[in-house]
Subunit: 260 residues, 2 copies
Amino acid sequence: MSIRYLTAKLAQQIDEELMNTAGAFSIDQLMELAGLACAQTVATIYEKERYPRVLVCCGPGNQGGDGLVAARHLGMFGYKPTIWMPKPGSKDIYKRLHTQCVNMRIPTLPASDSDHNLAENTLSTALAASDVVLDAIFGFSFKPPVRAPFGAALPLIARAGLPIVSVDIPSGWDVERGDDVAPDAGGLGLGVPVLLYPDVLVSLTAPKEGVRKFAGRHFLGGRFVPKPLEEKYELNLPPYPGFAQIVELPQQDGGSSQKL
Amino acid sequence: MSIRYLTAKLAQQIDEELMNTAGAFSIDQLMELAGLACAQTVATIYEKERYPRVLVCCGPGNQGGDGLVAARHLGMFGYKPTIWMPKPGSKDIYKRLHTQCVNMRIPTLPASDSDHNLAENTLSTALAASDVVLDAIFGFSFKPPVRAPFGAALPLIARAGLPIVSVDIPSGWDVERGDDVAPDAGGLGLGVPVLLYPDVLVSLTAPKEGVRKFAGRHFLGGRFVPKPLEEKYELNLPPYPGFAQIVELPQQDGGSSQKL
């Protein structure tokens, strides 16, 4: 039995069940373990001696929270993370997670919603001073088009040529159709889709339909799915080794993970 | 600079700072990482093929919560944990953490405050069917004497002859004076102190004064102390390896960790 790839709807449903009856987890717990898995994936592939400076790019939703947790753990591991979070989530948990990073002296780039140039210049400067990008911008609840300021940011990140580790779904990709998105999906009139092509992917709970053909190194994290829930949805998760919080999935042949 | 051993008062103070200004952590986050560290310590020493049945003994305070988190992770790792929690904590978080274990089909022993014989018989039966004990009964806020039903339970656990992994402070020990407690500290008139002598200890955040002379294998967990907080209290924590959540401390010579 091979692992199940989730539709956006099913991913949402399982997420809700984890926090309701089937799991009873708090979002603090789930984000802590998810973010830890993201940080451990970065640390597995990009050793801190060669890749100390991690630019953690956080979106406005739950995935941004995973990114903030990952930034904190990366700091604990001895990396030098920097946070780019141009649209902070409004929920209390984002504020707390961000405060935890501030308390650890992890810097956050200045951001301005109303001034794209500032955001772009700041981001470009930060990319030039980074060794690897953790893409925690859009997750399984992303729906196109890519909105400001991310529409302008994704091409900057893509063109920087840094190694990218994406969480759950590479930013810009459709959660179910992957990188098969219309050229104008970003609504920027650029003639090309606004997509990131990561080197490494970390899927949380279970992989999503859109990454079936992802050909880079692919890890699974979020070792918190109770067996009854896994069985109910026939997730067929692979066994995690020992007490690890991440497991690498077999690599795909071919696929669509060429760089732009 | 060697690691700092904490008084009960200082441990309490640091715990509060972690959740207030210096950390801004929620108790859900801290317990998740602490419990994960406890489970990983058990799994490091007692492999699941030989020691699958872990009796997780939970006290009524925060350490009981760490135990519940550890039980859940041990279940995820493929162990067969059983929970003994005769006095469940009243806070909402214990109920949620326990529900998470129930949702994973982890059994909890029946318990009765008013019937010590029942508790004893149940516990004795469970000990006979276990391979290792995780002692999450009393933590750094423990003050003697040992109260019912734990006064009767500790000798049962000690006499069972199973390997014991204790969290933070072996149950019955004084947080600062260790196993140097009066023979009647348990208030049972047994003529001997009611103490557990664990094979393995996992200290959370930083070790406590009372375990200075502990001579078994000693791990540190709780990799969440921000550097500024560590520096403020001159904790001199050892470096954790890679992205591990636990680190083994050097073994002491001699000490007081003989078995009863």
